[in-house]
């Protein structure tokens, strides 16, 4: 029976091409759309991977009246050290790191200086990006970003001056385009805190204690992300508002908590798909496939009425004819499914070579907009290869949908065939 179905399909390949094409389209769209949707969620996580964290916390502060000397990166405010222990105590938190991002307006140049602990998660992330030299061993040593070093002719074992303080360059890092919060110079947290504490301009803008930071990195399991994020909201956003707004619209004194979800809307690509769109397409496509296949099979059935009449005349029972129809449907589904899998696999391999950009919100670690020719260049843009992979679960899902369509089509056709009278079709057709 199966060989008969195969032969029938070969002989009427143009008729069956539409059905097979509908199945291929169904499988390709179901697998690719869902894999794309998943990939975009993964893209939003990528900026956090390099800093070994899942959540970034910042406090929104005032803008200095003059951009001179050492100031907090705009428009952040100090966060007291006591918050670190409170965050560490939250259930689901694996690790907490902190940092101090400063803007330093020296007389000859501008630099972003990041103070960090070399032994915590964020510090280890930066250390892994060292391309020349080694990590600083003392508070008097620093790492310099390669782009900045190239611009100002700096090298390992040389010196970099930050607000009058001399740092020995222990190594060069390549952090541009990789770090969600990029900097030009990386120093020990204590050194950065000393620079901030001693800056009259900074102290005039925000009261800064010597142990304060302005960024907290929190590492949690993805499964606990929403739960922890909610608890952090409870810790940070209680009675902090002073009423005014930062230039980008944040309430001064409030805390901003960034998670991968916050970055999803910042992903720029033509392939971007929302969950809702994926869900809608995942429902529409199978319905469309059912309509195409049922319609096409209905036409084929009409054309083959005489053939089925002959079969009944020579001794085929209804169930035997149903087996014929089922074999043909099964074969079409099988060919369409396998071809769909192969095309999806190739399509996903091609998509995996495309890049996708993530625009990091400017408040997280932007550049002073007045120092760049176009304000749009002040933000941080991270570029990644689309992390799309062939997902077996979607292959299985599409397989289940194809089986369901096959059974439904067979049932519809079987009902129509049961009413077929051999002599009526042989007499009149």
């Amino acid at each position: 029976m199966f060989q008969y179905a195969l032969k029938e399909m070969r002989k009427r390949r143009n008729k069956y091409a539409l059905n097979v094409g509908a199945i291929i389209l169904l499988v390709v769209l179901l697998i690719t759309l869902n894999s794309l949707s998943l990939a975009y969620k993964d893209v939003a996580v990528l900026p956090f991977k390099t800093i070994n964290s899942t959540i970034i916390v910042q406090r929104n502060g005032n803008v200095p009246e003059n951009m001179t000397g050492v100031v907090l990166s705009c428009s952040s405010a100090p966060i007291g050290a006591d918050y670190l222990s409170r965050v560490s105590a939250v259930d689901g938190v694996k690790d907490v790191s902190s940092g101090l991002l400063l803007w330093v307006f020296d007389h000859d140049n501008f630099k972003r200086v990041f103070g960090l602990n070399w032994t915590d998660g964020f510090g280890r992330g930066i250390e892994s990006q060292i391309t020349i030299g080694s990590a600083p061993q003392t508070n008097g040593e620093a790492l310099v970003d390669k782009a900045y070093a190239d611009q100002y002719g700096l090298a390992a074992k040389g010196h970099v001056i930050v607000a009058g303080a001399d740092f020995l360059i222990s190594g060069i890092v390549e952090s541009s385009g990789k770090n969600v919060i990029p900097a030009d110079v990386y120093v020990a947290l204590a050194s950065a805190q000393m620079l901030a504490y001693n800056s009259p301009n900074l102290q005039a803008t925000e009261k800064f204690n010597q142990t304060d930071v302005n960024i907290i990195f929190v590492d949690v399991d993805q499964t606990n992300l929403n739960q922890v994020s909610q608890r952090l909201n409870n810790i940070f956003n209680v009675g902090q508002s002073t009423g005014g707004n930062t230039p980008t619209g944040q309430v001064i004194g409030s805390y901003s908590i960034y998670t991968p979800t916050s970055f999803e809307s910042q992903i720029s690509s033509v392939f971007k798909l929302s969950d809702q769109l994926t869900l809608i397409l995942s429902l529409i496509v199978p319905i469309g496939a059912i309509l195409i296949i049922a319609n096409s099979s209905g036409h084929t059935l009409l054309e083959r009425r005489r053939e089925f009449g002959i079969m009944k005349a020579v001794g085929f029972r209804n169930r035997d004819i149903q087996r014929v129809v089922f074999s043909e449907t099964l074969l079409q589904m099988l060919i369409g499914y396998v071809a769909g899998l192969i095309i999806s696999f190739i399509g996903i391999a091609i998509l995996a070579r495309t890049t996708v950009s993530v625009n990091v919100p400017w408040e997280v670690g932007g550049y002073p907009h007045f120092l760049v020719p176009d304000p749009n260049l002040a933000g941080t843009v991270l570029t990644y290869l689309l992390p799309i992979t062939f997902q077996v679960k979607y292959a299985l899902l599409s397989g289940a949908v194809v089986v369901a369509i096959g059974l439904l089509t067979t049932m519809i056709l079987a009902r129509r065939l049961n009413g077929l009278k051999a002599m009526e079709v042989l007499k009149y057709d």
């Binding site: 032969k7 005349a313 001794g315 169930r319 035997d320 051999a422 042989l426």
Partner: protein, 221 residues
């Protein structure tokens, strides 16, 4: 000869027109019976009732003692598959199957290895002189060859009886004569019972017995 088919007072009406009216007859094993009558006299309807392709409105038909008039559709299909071969005027071959596959068609629903099925079809093709045309498709055959395929298909299940509805009606005289000779040889050499509706007087005259139908009734036997 013992009775193979017994028809008792069978009636069939289509839209108030009586196609077969109160027909009774018996058919013996090995008999070659010709049914004659003008167009619309009820020949085809009577054949269809005998093969179970149509259900009688009244009366009963017994096949080897078994009442086929009380069988359901599936039982009738099995009855045709196991006991009956049918030859149509317009051959009714499946265009996408070649000769050997068309002959093997009644065996498709039977659980049987494909090789064995095709071997049987080849033997059947040989019996009707079509061994050289096995791989050809119906549109590559002459009318006579197509009818031979239909006869081979009717023979594949070793039926007790072949019902042929105007088997020569769509063929030229010479080819028609050859097809009839083939049927007569099968009747003679294999003692195969044959019931044949025909307009052709000479063919009817060569049969064992002739039944004439007029307005659905047997006018003379």
């Amino acid at each position: 000869m013992t009775e193979l088919i017994t028809v008792k007072n069978v009636c069939k009406t289509f839209a108030k027109a009586k196609a077969v009216s109160n027909v009774s007859l018996t058919l013996k094993y090995g008999e070659l019976l010709a049914i004659q009558g003008a167009s619309g006299s009820g020949k085809t309807t009577l054949l269809n009732l005998l093969t179970g392709l149509e259900q009688a409105d009244a009366g009963e038909i017994l096949f080897d003692g078994e009442k086929i008039t009380s069988m359901n559709e599936d039982q009738l299909a099995l009855f045709r598959r196991e006991h009956v071969g049918i030859v149509f005027q317009f051959f009714n071959l499946i265009p996408t199957l070649n000769v050997v596959e068309n002959i093997a068609l009644p065996l498709f629903p039977v659980r049987m290895p494909r090789d064995k099925m095709l071997d049987r079809a080849k033997v059947s093709a040989e019996n009707v002189g079509l061994s050289h045309r096995l791989d050809h498709y119906p549109n590559e055959l002459s009318g006579g060859e197509q009818q031979r395929v239909a006869i081979a298909r009717a023979l594949i299940n070793n039926p007790e009886v072949i019902f042929a509805d105007e088997p020569t009606g769509n063929l030229d005289e010479k080819t028609g004569r050859m097809i009839f000779e083939l049927l007569r040889d099968l009747n003679k050499n294999r003692n195969l019972t044959i019931v044949m509706a025909t307009h052709d007087q000479s063919i009817a005259a060569a049969s064992h017995r002739i039944i004439k139908l007029r307005d659905g009734m047997i006018s003379n036997e």
